[in-house]
């Protein structure tokens, strides 16, 4: 199976329904970004290769999108995928580092940016062409340590560091503009000295091409400010706060699946 957004969304819906858990909207929001990363962008011959690119899902609560990509990349079998949120499973709500293909555990927002900066610095010190990617939520940028790492990476010109901000405008209890304004997001990263790209986080060619043309050998670190729709692909979840935590009923699941299947 290809690591396509449609497959990722199918898996997100199926597994969150089976496990009766939430965080569905957050995972759907990054399905396209994850697909482009795993199908076209990350250089990961296998998860054990020390020269692989590193990836930190800093918004760990969207782990189901990552599990889907690991499964579709062939690093996780279906039997294991079906243990999601079960007793004794390595596939919890947030990614555990013990799971094959997870470079760093996450779940505590604000942590991943500095992990990725460290991974990028390590590659530079080892004169390796590998890169480090961190996928952050927009609300995660409420956290101070994100900006500590952002400053460090710019100061040291970590051109092999690529951040992606999932700008879906929502957080657990409200819309980001109401909770703690993050705008102007792009200007903030730019002011910190980063190479900023504002993209449509659901436009596959745009994402692919943007990643492909980043200069990861010299210059500043890069950030894609990816405008996304929370719950993308499922009409009744889109931009609805309750789908941060809410699990689906049978009817809701069926409708969600129908919409995802019907999408191009």
């Amino acid at each position: 199976m290809r690591c396509s957004p449609k497959e990722i969304r199918r898996i997100i819906l199926k597994q969150s329904k089976r496990a009766h858990v939430g965080h569905i909207g957050s995972a759907l929001s990054i399905a396209d970004i994850i697909a482009v990363l795993y199908a076209d962008t990350l250089r990961v011959p296998n998860p054990e290769d020390p020269e692989r690119d590193r990836f930190v899902l800093s918004k760990g609560h969207a782990a189901l999108a990552l599990y889907a990509a690991l499964f579709l990349s062939g690093w996780l079998d279906e039997e294991q995928l079906d243990t999601y949120c079960g007793d004794g499973s390595l596939l919890g709500v947030h990614p555990e580092h013990a799971l094959r293909g997870v470079d760093f555990a996450s779940g505590s927002l604000g942590h991943g940016m500095s992990l990725a900066a460290g991974a990028a610095l390590a590659a530079r010190l080892q004169r390796s062409p590998r890169r480090a990617f961190a996928l952050l939520s927009d609300a995660e940028c409420n956290c101070g340590p994100v900006w500590e790492a952002v400053m460090f990476a710019a100061h040291h010109k970590l051109s092999n560091l690529i951040a992606i901000v999932d700008l879906n405008g929502q957080q657990a209890l409200g819309y980001t503009q109401q909770v703690l304004s993050l705008e102007p997001m792009a200007a903030r990263w730019s002011a910190f000295g980063w190479d900023v790209h504002e993209v449509d986080g659901h436009d596959l060619p745009e994402l692919r091409e943007t990643f492909a043309r980043l200069d990861t050998t010299s210059g500043p670190p890069h950030v894609l400010i990816a405008r996304t729709v929370f719950g993308k692909g499922v009409s009744y979840m889109q931009s609805q706060i309750k789908w941060h935590y809410w699990p689906m009923s049978d009817a809701e699941y069926q409708q969600a699946l129908n919409e995802v299947e019907a999408a191009p």
Binding site: R54, D103, H111, S114, L115, A116, G118, L121, A122, L125
Partner: protein, 308 residues
Amino acid sequence: MRGAFANTLTELAGRDPRILLLTGDLGYMALEPFAEQFPERFFNVGVAEQNMVGLATGLAEAGFIPFVYSIVSFAVLRPYEFIRNGPIQHQLQVRIVGVGGGMEYGSNGLSHYGLEDVAVLRTQPGITILAPADHQQTRAALLASWDLPGPIYYRLGKDDKTTVAGLDGRFELGKLQRIGDGADLLLIAMGNIASEASAALQALAARGVACSLAIVAHVSPAPIDELVGLLAVFPAALAIESHYAVGGLGSLVAEVIAERNLRCRLVRCGVHSLPDGVTGSQRYLYQRHGLSTDGLVATALATLQEVQ
């Protein structure tokens, strides 16, 4: 101790290119030997300790052995969750180096004291805690431990002159070091306050009280069996630490006594109350909290009277 640490680390870095040193903008007149000899492996990350630990986690995942350096409270308490979710959870070779354990930053006040660092890190399985007693033991402890698997916390002092009589720089992983063979009372000390404990040992001997001193530099995992062996044969013990009385060495000894059903009377000599804003030298603060040589001698004599 920080001088011994910096010099020994510089030596080790000459042997192993995996060693890096990160500082949160501290270490003036201490870290220069490393910075000058290995400028490409030395990073002043600025006043950003959470990021410092996060960076070290990313570096260690790629095979480096990063040492991160700051004053105890900034090295441990500010980035505590980053230590927990980073090097501890991932079992990576990050070394947290805290300088000024206890009240060594005297006049700087509570913000600069390290009074609960051992307590909070001791709750975490999967991190080695080393609190050497003097600069000689600091060197020995670093040489014995620097490439151990998993993370390490080094709790250091600033003093590179004072030595603990009879310790002679001894250190062995997982062991305590005994000084003296008196059987009247057991003194147990952690960190640089061991010099006060050692002075108390001598002062008590002059009064005819024969004590033994156990230096617990390898705090976690604790030298349980050796502690049991000692606590089983002494009528009373003083746990001496420049640390809050809850959670540190005294609590560790209490756990051993309770769980092994020993009959030793324990007195926890530590900081029992919130510092009230009155500052001064470490010596003054030791006196204020009953941790000076005289204070320890008085506590020892009172304890002996109680148990006899």
